[in-house]
């Protein structure tokens, strides 16, 4: 029976002919578009997450507090809430850091009569409080502390990046969705064509007493195969584009997004894409209606 069903499936697939081929191409196109936006959104998302992680708000102090006043000050800041980590940086450390950053030109610093750098507190916002509103509120509260001279830092541009990511994801879903709809309709057309070509066969099947399942399964399978074929081709072209474009794009990525490496879809996401293709095809095969049973 299985052999028969598979044989009929292959026969049906051949009978779908040119319409079947366009169905496969449309599925390829829809899944490639979906996958492409998905890939972009994925990498942008990683950049956003990394930047959120690195985000700091720095509160510069009016004067360096005496050593015994540091701990109480940090405690008061911590009490403001929404804070993951705090680090006090005294004037000496600030100068040392500057020297390290200047490297060979560090000698300039030694010419200074006194240390011009203020002491500061580096505040890392809690992960769930790294939104623009929460950060703005945190900055506001820090400013209100009497010891604080100036506060630096914000999340606006990271949020703009996150907005881009959401936009890309949305466009991907939209474009992919429209194409997927077209793909389903094409599979349906291909299957209807198959139904038309094999109506004599289906009449015989019904007359001799074949069950509806035996009659429909090959149609479903040929739709599913069209979908899977499309998905494999979409993944193939995505992978090709990814490997060709990556060496050229990676330096740019590092520069603009701070991402060391771009990444491809994870195995799970690959399986999801394949499953999506199969589902599209099977659905198209299922939707096709020829002359039903009497």
């Amino acid at each position: 029976m299985l052999g028969f069903l598979l044989g009929e499936t292959v026969r049906d697939l051949r009978r779908a002919g040119r319409v079947g081929v366009s169905a496969v191409f449309l599925i390829t196109l829809s899944l490639a578009a979906l996958g492409c936006f998905w890939l972009l959104s994925l990498n942008l998302g990683r950049a956003v997450a990394e930047w959120r992680e690195r985000l700091r708000v720095i509160a510069y102090l009016k004067a360096e507090p005496p050593p015994e006043a540091v701990a109480p000050l940090l405690k008061r800041i911590e009490a403001l809430g929404g804070i993951q980590r705090l680090r006090y940086v005294d004037k000496r450390e600030a100068l040392a850091t500057l020297k390290r950053e200047l490297g060979s030109q560090a000698g300039v610093v030694d010419q200074l009569p006194s240390n011009p750098l203020p002491a500061s507190v580096e505040v890392t916002p809690a992960r769930d409080a790294a939104t623009p509103e929460a950060t703005r509120a945190l900055v506001q509260r820090l400013m209100e502390l009497p010891e604080v001279e100036e506060v630096q830092g914000g999340t606006e541009w990271v949020e703009r990046l996150a907005q881009w990511q959401r936009l890309l994801g949305g466009i991907g879903l939209g474009v992919g969705g429209v194409l997927a709809l077209a793909a389903i309709l094409t599979v349906t057309t291909a299957t209807t064509l198959v139904l038309h070509v094999k109506r004599a066969e289906m009449e015989i099947m019904r007359l001799v007493g074949a069950t509806e399942a035996v009659i429909r399964v090959p149609l479903l399978l040929q739709g599913l195969l069209q979908g899977l074929l499309g998905a494999v081709m979409a993944l193939g072209s995505l992978w090709l584009a990814y490997t060709v474009a990556l060496p050229r794009l990676e330096p740019l990525l590092t520069l603009t997004l701070g991402l060391q490496r771009a990444s491809f879809l994870s195995p799970l996401e690959v399986v999801l894409l394949l499953g999506g293709g199969g589902l599209l095809g099977a659905f198209g095969g299922l939707l096709a209606r020829g002359r039903g049973p009497a």
Binding site: F4, E201, I204, R206, V208, A210, I215
Partner: protein, 224 residues
């Protein structure tokens, strides 16, 4: 094997009602060979279609091969069809497949195991005298040979009941007689047969029980 009680069938074409069958009752016992005859439009085809549940009756009860056909749910129809072999005026062979494959197709869709198929196909081909033409495509066969392949396809699943609707309708007289002779042989081996034909000469040549329909009513039941 076949039993009808006060069966009526009305076709509705929009506002038009066509009474194809009215108050038809009869019984065909196991192992019988019955002829259904009557002029064109009398309701023969409709009656056969009711038996294999291609149509449902407007009234009355139908039993076929142990199935209560009127009460059958759609999913159970294949079970009924498996017990019935059906041949028509046209052979309904699949053009792309050989005689052998056409007969095998009818078995494969029923899930008959592969190793059983070949012997059963050849047995059926032998029963209709076409063993030598197994590999011929329908287009390479005469109409009479095509009809015999159709008969072999119906026989291969070893039906308890064989229904035939004008099986000689497209054949000339000599070939018709050959095909009718085959029906006779099949009947002698134990299959119950109900054969519909509008030709009274054919019906009388067969010398079997004859049910005569006129305008949807059973007007005569004689012989047998």
């Amino acid at each position: 094997m076949v039993q009808l009680q006060r069966v009526g069938k009305v076709y509705r074409l929009g506002p038009v009602r066509i009474q194809a069958l009215a108050d038809v009752s009869f019984r065909v016992g196991k192992g019988e060979f019955a002829i259904l005859t009557g002029p064109s439009g009398a309701g023969k085809t409709t009656l056969l279609r009711l038996l294999y549940r291609e149509e449902v009756p407007s009234e009355g009860e139908i039993q076929v091969a142990g199935f209560d056909v009127t009460a059958l749910r759609r999913a159970e129809v294949p079970m009924l069809r498996r017990a019935i072999g059906i041949v028509f005026q046209d052979a309904k062979l699949l053009p792309g497949r050989t005689a052998y494959e056409n007969i095998a197709f009818g078995l494969r869709v029923l899930g008959v195991p592969r190793r059983e198929i070949t012997p059963r196909v050849f047995q059926a081909l032998k029963a209709v005298g076409l063993s030598a033409r197994a590999q011929a495509l329908p287009a390479q066969l005469s109409l009479g040979e095509q009809q015999r392949v159709a008969l072999a396809r119906a026989l291969a699943k070893e039906p308890a009941l064989l229904l035939a609707d004008e099986p000689t309708g497209s054949l000339d007289e000599a070939v018709s007689l050959e095909v009718l002779d085959l029906f006779h042989q099949i009947w002698q081996r134990g299959t119950t047969i109900l054969l519909a034909t509008h030709s009274r000469t054919l019906a009388s040549q067969l010398k079997r029980r004859t049910l005569v329909l006129e305008s949807g009513r059973l007007v005569k039941d004689e012989g047998g």
